[in-house]
């Protein structure tokens, strides 16, 4: 039971990060129906900038928390600038083009960002300085680290803040109006380009925070880290219903848990030696407490995409997305 709980804790931490990244996908999709494939790279750039700053300050004797906060504070504006630039150069000129064109530039922008990061930060795996002291808490037999608690807390705060922004502020109202009908919103005096740019910039800020969280959680960053993270967050956004802000949160958390439990238990479930007739078919490999595992935990990354396919086949509008079916 404590092992199950531990896997849940792992999954929720991972899921919280997916959720924050997925918010960036879903906000942009909700407004201009563009899948911003460069978003994962923005997360990577956030992690890289934070790495550089934290590395510079680590020796300075500042309290670790302050170092990480300064790192995040530097990563956020850089990511916002990158995302704004991509929107301005790669997406805005294509606003009236067929849907496929901006999708392709998004992939192009993603490759460009990845390779720029490779030129700046080298191809090596960068090790985050291990400055945060390891604090662990025991919770019903599961071990929770301070970093995990911080990630969960920050993600919860971000989600509440974003919900407040979208549903309670003037900018949020403009965003929802633009999402419903850009032309009419424009006629009503909403500056659509500004709203869209703001959406990209907010998503990039979230991506920067996610990048710092991933970096400090795993302790490593590399220029390729954004692509798989981005794809999984995209799967999370689709799972929740792309274009739907609460959906991205639910989808992210759910995907994280599915992944952790899947990776944790798939080996046991697909161990043929556990099943009498199959064990006899496999023969001697099961003898004397042996095992014949069909799928090991290296299939961890597959779960996100299995979920993506299942959702697209059986519920294309996602768990919470009701209005997107006709657009996707």
């Amino acid at each position: 039971m404590d092992i199950f709980l531990q896997q849940m804790v792992n999954g929720l931490t991972l899921g919280a990060v997916y959720a924050v990244v997925a918010l960036g996908y879903t906000m942009v999709y909700g407004i201009i129906q563009l899948i911003n494939f460069a978003h994962g790279e923005v997360v990577m750039i956030g992690a890289m900038v934070a790495f550089t700053v934290i590395n510079l300050l680590a020796a300075g004797g500042l309290p670790p928390l302050a170092v990480v906060l300064v790192g995040t504070a530097c990563a956020i504006p850089v990511c916002m600038l990158v995302s704004y630039t991509v929107e301005r150069l790669a997406y805005r000129p294509l606003r009236r083009a067929p849907r496929l064109a901006p999708l392709i530039t998004a992939i192009g922008a993603s490759i460009i960002l990845q390779h720029l990061a490779m030129l700046v930060w080298s191809r090596n795996v960068l090790a985050f300085p291990q400055i945060i002291p390891l604090k662990t808490f025991s919770f019903l037999g599961a071990t929770v680290t301070g970093v995990q608690l911080a990630i969960l807390g920050i993600c919860a705060a971000i989600m509440c803040g974003l919900a407040g922004l979208v549903y309670r502020t003037r900018l949020g109202r403009s965003m929802r109006a633009t999402a419903q009908n850009p032309q009419v919103a424009g006629l009503m005096g909403v500056d659509i380009n500004r709203v869209i740019a703001a959406t990209f910039v907010i998503g990039a800020g979230l991506a920067a925070v996610a990048g710092v969280m991933v970096g400090t959680y795993y302790g490593v960053a590399q220029y390729t880290m954004g692509s798989i993270l981005g794809l999984k967050a995209f799967a999370a956004a689709v799972l929740g219903g792309i274009g739907n802000v609460p959906g991205a949160m639910v989808g992210g958390l759910l995907l994280g848990v599915v992944e952790a439990l899947g990776a944790g238990y798939i080996g046991d479930i697909t161990d043929l030696c556990r099943y009498g007739p199959l064990a006899r078919a496999v023969g001697e490999r099961c003898a004397d407490g042996g095992h014949f595992v069909l799928f090991g935990s290296n299939y961890q990354d597959v779960f996100a995409f299995v979920v993506l396919i299942l959702v697209l086949v059986f519920r294309p509008s996602g768990l919470l997305g009701e209005r997107v079916g006709d657009r996707a």
């Binding site: 896997q7 792992n10 790669a90 530039t105 192009g108 490759i111 795996v125 899947g262 944790g264 935990s297």
Partner: protein, 416 residues
């Protein structure tokens, strides 16, 4: 509007292509000098090197490349004459990205470029598929770091290696682990690559031979950074020791996360994760790690080599540079002996070579494996890898004793 859009799309696409295309490949094309009617004063001999220069283990690839490059530079400085002509060695470095698919592509590229010999590849996973291409072309290839037994078990006459094999390294680390940690239950994890899985298999076999219980194999990939799910599962089984067959870029996060989860087992890694990067990647969690390296530690290599390397590249060798240095020198030595750079002519010389290299005496057995290859066991102490024992021919010697005994020949080598 649409024209602008199109132009931007094309621009983005072409930039992407440029971005993908940057390879540190040496594309200098020089006319092949063949034995023609007027005997040319010099002969150009191309020697290829393959290792990952991009990706998670690019630092190891660069280290390997530096070793081979140094041997070539020294050979050029020594003004060697082959078949009465001045030999001009040309170094052709290639990047295989540690990817088997790219590995075969660059192998073909080297064959097409008519290299006389190849040093590489770094990984077993790329070396094995590439070896078939070199074999068909009859080009000798010496790996300084690929340890999977399969590489030399294919019966290819052109394939050699100067490091120990996993079936020597695996038992060495497993026996040492069994002696020191005396575990009852061991978990074995691998990264699902030819190297990681091969090494893990050998360790598992030896542990089982020593009547130690082994948990069902857990797997990650060579890009896994999140090991929490696997480690949590292991925590439930409470093993006394964990062995991981994989590289440092994935092993570091694994070790860190294991300690975060409160797993107290002794961790032991193979040579791919036995590097100075470990304390950076895992922080304080790296302390107490046991790991093995095929061959001797870089600091036990020939002093002259170490000084020259440091002078040439401003860094210390990471692991395998002394081996790739020796591998390149072996090719050159065999060419000198055969008085020819024709692979068909110098290959027999290479097979029966007996050469004193930076890593000790080198001779090959019938399969192309190095005779009497050593394996070193390290322990991580306060962020530094300290050699604790040398295993040779199944016998373990404490490191201090080994160095004491080997001091005399090392001095001889320095004089030479």
């Amino acid at each position: 509007m649409n024209r602008l859009a199109l132009r931007l799309t094309v621009l983005a696409a072409s930039l992407a292509v440029i971005g993908c295309g940057d390879k540190p490949a040496d594309t200098k094309k020089t006319a092949e000098v063949k034995k023609g009617a007027p005997p040319p004063p010099s002969v150009e001999i191309k020697i290829g090197h393959v290792g990952p220069l991009t990706g998670g283990i690019a630092h190891l690839g660069k280290d390997n490349e530096n070793g081979a490059r140094m041997a070539i530079d020294e050979a050029n400085a020594a003004k060697i004459k082959i078949d009465g002509k001045d030999a001009k060695f040309v170094f052709v470095p290639e990047d295989d990205q540690a990817d088997p698919k790219v590995g075969t592509t660059v192998a073909q590229k080297l064959v097409d470029a008519k290299v006389a010999g190849v040093v590489g590849h770094l990984n077993s996973g790329t070396s094995i598929p590439a070896s078939d291409i070199y074999n068909k072309a009859g080009i000798p290839v010496i790996s300084g770091s690929a340890t999977n037994p399969k590489l030399t078990e294919q019966g290819f006459k052109v394939q050699f290696r100067v490091v120990a094999r996993d079936d020597q390294q695996g038992p060495a680390v497993a026996n040492y682990l069994a002696d020191i940690a005396k575990p009852k239950l061991v978990a074995v994890i691998d990264d699902a690559t030819a190297y990681g899985e091969g090494l893990a298999n050998e360790v598992e076999k030896s542990l089982k031979g020593a009547n130690i219980q082994v948990l069902p194999r857990e797997k990650g990939t060579d890009k896994t950074t999140d090991w929490k799910a696997v480690l949590t599962k292991l925590k439930g089984r409470n093993p006394d020791a964990v062995f991981y067959g994989g590289m440092d870029a994935t092993g570091g996060p694994m070790l860190k996360q294991a300690r975060e989860l409160g797993i107290k087992a002794v961790f032991s890694f193979g040579d791919g994760a036995c590097t100075d990067e470990m304390p950076k990647l895992a922080g304080a969690a790296a302390d107490g790690l046991l790991c093995s390296q095929a061959g001797l530690p870089p600091q036990a290599a020939d002093k002259k080599f170490l000084e020259a390397y440091k002078k040439a590249f401003k860094v210390d060798p990471i692991i395998y540079a002394p081996f790739t240095y020796d591998a390149a020198n072996l090719l050159i030595e065999a060419m000198k002996k055969a008085n020819s750079a024709d692979p068909a002519k110098y290959l027999p010389e290479l097979a029966k070579i007996d050469f004193k290299g930076a890593t000790g005496q080198i001779a090959f057995d019938g399969k192309g494996d190095r005779k009497g290859a050593e394996i070193t066991i390290f322990t991580m102490k306060a962020g530094k890898l300290e050699p604790t024992a040398i295993v040779k021919g199944g016998k373990s010697t404490p490191y201090a004793e080994f160095i004491g005994g080997a001091a005399a020949p090392a001095k001889d080598a320095a004089k030479k």
